[in-house]
């Protein structure tokens, strides 16, 4: 075996250019895989993060009616405790559940700001500032000023929204909204912070204000439109879900509220999971395309060495030894190409993972409600690189087995006659 491997290795240098072209083709395919997987992983990670941070938490508690009308930002179906006693007590009970680290209330409502020539629609989010900063990446996006403070009539909004309404940090803004009882009101706030986010929703639509202020203005004391539960990690969600449902049922609120995991509240996550499977087939296709070059090389090599194969058989080599010889030669090319491709792919992905790339232009017409980040940061993970390397080696070796089998089946007398 070691001598066969030695011959296979030396055979690589018979036609250096041909070997190099084959290795380059494999390297290219594997590099594309590392990079493409890095992008997909980065995209999926971002989608998960954005969805969890700005929509669902790990577990979301809403009323069934609110869930149906969520896009309308209705105030008629709030979370107001187990039996209407107020959300504070309910949050305290939920925090006691093992695995729950945080309970975050949000009060979302539709609002407008009038500029000289148009009415700009926006989404008001009454929040607990401390919890929001602790749970989300908002602090990184807060490029100017500070986050709102409880008890203060102040707001934080995105750069694009500020530009649209022609305001800046420090200015006052009057926001028009409907209270929970349907009366139209307007309140003036001080803009204390500016968010610059790659998430269209935060940049163009959301206005953060303190929860207590939102509750007071909307006449929704001790109410929120949703509660987000943050668990120790994603893996604990399936364990925490029944405990939350059990608590609500025990408190007589089992029928009022929906307890939804982060997976149940996103259309994008199942789509991404499906795309991950589809992409796996695309990776296979990419490597198979690279394999055509290697396959062609192997066919040429075997044609050229037919007489040599005959000689080896005459000397007593068996078909399986010949198969091994060519399979190992292919595997060497597979290893060299896959290694080069994996390393190059990792470096490119790592670099782009730092600087990211902006495809906001392509998403400019997308609804801000869809939590799709305009920046992609490909993930350069060791797992991804190792996967692409192993994948490349296996597929190339398997592809080489086809011509190698042909070589192994050659009759010595026929081969010698060539």
């Amino acid at each position: 075996m070691d001598f066969i491997a030695k011959i296979a290795f030396k055979n690589l240098f018979r036609s250096k250019l041909r070997t190099l072209v084959s290795i380059a083709a494999i390297a290219f395919g594997v590099m594309i895989i590392v990079f493409a997987r890095g992008i997909v992983l980065g995209m999926i990670e971002t989608i998960y993060d954005d969805h969890i941070q700005f929509n669902s938490g790990h577990i979301k508690i809403v009323t069934e009616e609110y869930q149906k009308r969520e896009r309308l930002l209705t105030l008629n179906y709030p979370v107001d405790g187990f039996t209407g006693e107020g959300v504070g007590g309910m949050m305290a009970e939920l925090e006691k559940i093992e695995g729950v680290e945080m309970v975050i209330p949000r009060l979302k409502f539709g609002a407008m700001v009038s500029t000289e020539d148009e009415l700009v629609a926006l989404s008001g989010w009454g929040v607990n500032p401390g919890l929001e900063l602790a749970f989300t990446d908002l602090e990184n996006d807060l490029v100017e000023g500070r986050m709102v403070r409880p008890g203060e009539r102040e707001v934080v909004m995105g750069t694009a929204l500020l530009e649209k309404i022609n305001r800046q940090v420090g200015d006052k803004v009057t926001i028009v909204y409907n209270t929970a009882f349907g009366s139209l009101k307007g309140s003036t706030f001080t803009i204390v912070g500016r968010i610059e986010s790659t998430l269209k929703l935060l940049n163009e639509t959301v206005v953060y204000l303190p929860l207590d202020q939102a509750q007071a203005l909307l006449e929704m004391e001790e109410q929120a439109t949703e509660l987000l539960l943050v668990t120790t990690n994603l893996k604990t969600v399936p364990r925490v879900l029944p405990a939350v449902r059990g608590l609500l049922a025990k408190a007589g609120a089992g029928d009022r509220y929906l307890v939804l995991s982060y997976r149940e509240t996103s259309d994008l996550i199942p789509l991404m999971d499906l795309s991950r499977i589809i992409f796996n087939y695309i990776y296979l296709l990419i490597v198979l395309l690279s394999c055509i070059v290697v396959f062609n090389t192997m066919v040429m090599i075997i044609r050229e060495r037919t007489k040599e194969i005959g000689m080896m058989t005459a000397l007593g080599m068996e078909g399986k030894d010949i198969l091994q010889l060519f399979a190992i030669e292919g595997a060497f090319m597979g290893v060299a190409g896959s290694l080069a491709g994996a390393v190059l792919g990792h470096l490119v992905t790592a670099y782009l993972g730092k600087v990211g790339f902006d495809y906001g232009q392509a998403l400019s017409s997308m609804d801000a409600e869809i939590l799709f980040d305009t920046m992609i940061y490909p993930v350069a993970s060791a797992g991804n690189t190792i996967f692409a390397f192993v994948f490349g080696v296996i597929v190339v070796t398997l592809a080489c087995l086809i011509p190698a089998r042909r070589a192994a089946r050659l009759e010595p007398t026929m081969a010698m006659r060539e």
Binding site: K6, R14, L315, T413
Partner: protein
């Protein structure tokens, strides 16, 4: 007991609708240590006979007994094992592996036998290279050797495993007469020293001059089988 015995061996090649008889019924016995030449015109069946004797092909009819074993009953793997351990081949165009050195080409045959430890392998390879006059050239690749030197490497490769039989198909065809003579002298020496049986297929009168037994084949049949007490060159 003969090393090799052929009884009524026929070989017919099936070329579509036409059947081409290459051997029409060969009866032959070759003893241990013989230095035999098979000659005859092109297409007479020399190479076919060598292929059958070398376990590279099977006869259409008849029986071949090699070293007491009936070859007709053996499968591919068993035939490969006989070739690996008991038969050495020398080809007209040397058929050395170009990426291996002279040493490695010879080592290749020994590695297949897989009977010797690394030290024994090394000693055997160097000894046989020295015996065929290639001392100091062990680390040269085939493209760095002359035709005669390449054929010596091929001889060393055939002999290193100490086979019972060496088959040489036109071993001098690509060599000039001086080199042919040198190479034949090496083989004759090996035959005498090791007692290895040699069967040549050739047109070359020089090769025939070295032989102690001359078998002429015509139209797939043995036309003449002549033994000589002494060869015409070394005596």
């Amino acid at each position: 007991m003969a090393l090799l015995e052929l009884k009524g061996v026929k070989k017919i090649y099936d070329q579509g609708k036409i059947e081409v008889p290459a051997l029409r019924g060969i009866d032959l016995r070759v003893g241990q240590g013989e230095f035999t030449t098979i000659f005859g015109p092109s297409g007479s069946g020399k190479t076919t006979l060598l292929n059958l004797v070398g376990c590279l092909d099977k006869p259409t009819a008849g029986t071949i007994i090699f070293d007491g074993r009936k070859l007709d009953d053996l499968d591919k793997k068993e035939l490969a094992m006989i070739r690996r351990h008991s038969i050495g081949f020398i080809f007209q165009s040397y058929n050395l592996i170009p990426v291996l050195t002279a040493y490695e080409n010879v080592e290749f045959a020994l590695r297949l036998v897989n009977k010797y430890n690394p030290r024994e392998t090394r000693d055997r390879v160097l000894d046989i290279l020295s015996a065929v006059g290639l001392e100091g050239l062990a680390h040269r690749r085939p493209n760095e050797l002359s035709g005669g030197q390449k054929q010596r490497v091929a001889i060393a490769r055939a002999l290193v495993k100490e086979p019972k039989l060496v088959l040489a198909d036109e071993p001098s065809a690509n060599l000039d007469s001086k080199t042919s003579e040198e190479v034949l002298a090496v083989m004759a020496k090996m035959n005498k020293e090791l007692g290895t049986t040699f069967i040549f297929s050739t047109h070359d009168p020089l090769v025939m001059a070295y032989a102690r037994r001359l078998i002429e084949i015509r139209d797939g049949l043995i036309a003449k089988d002549q033994r000589r007490e002494q060869d015409a060159v070394l005596n």
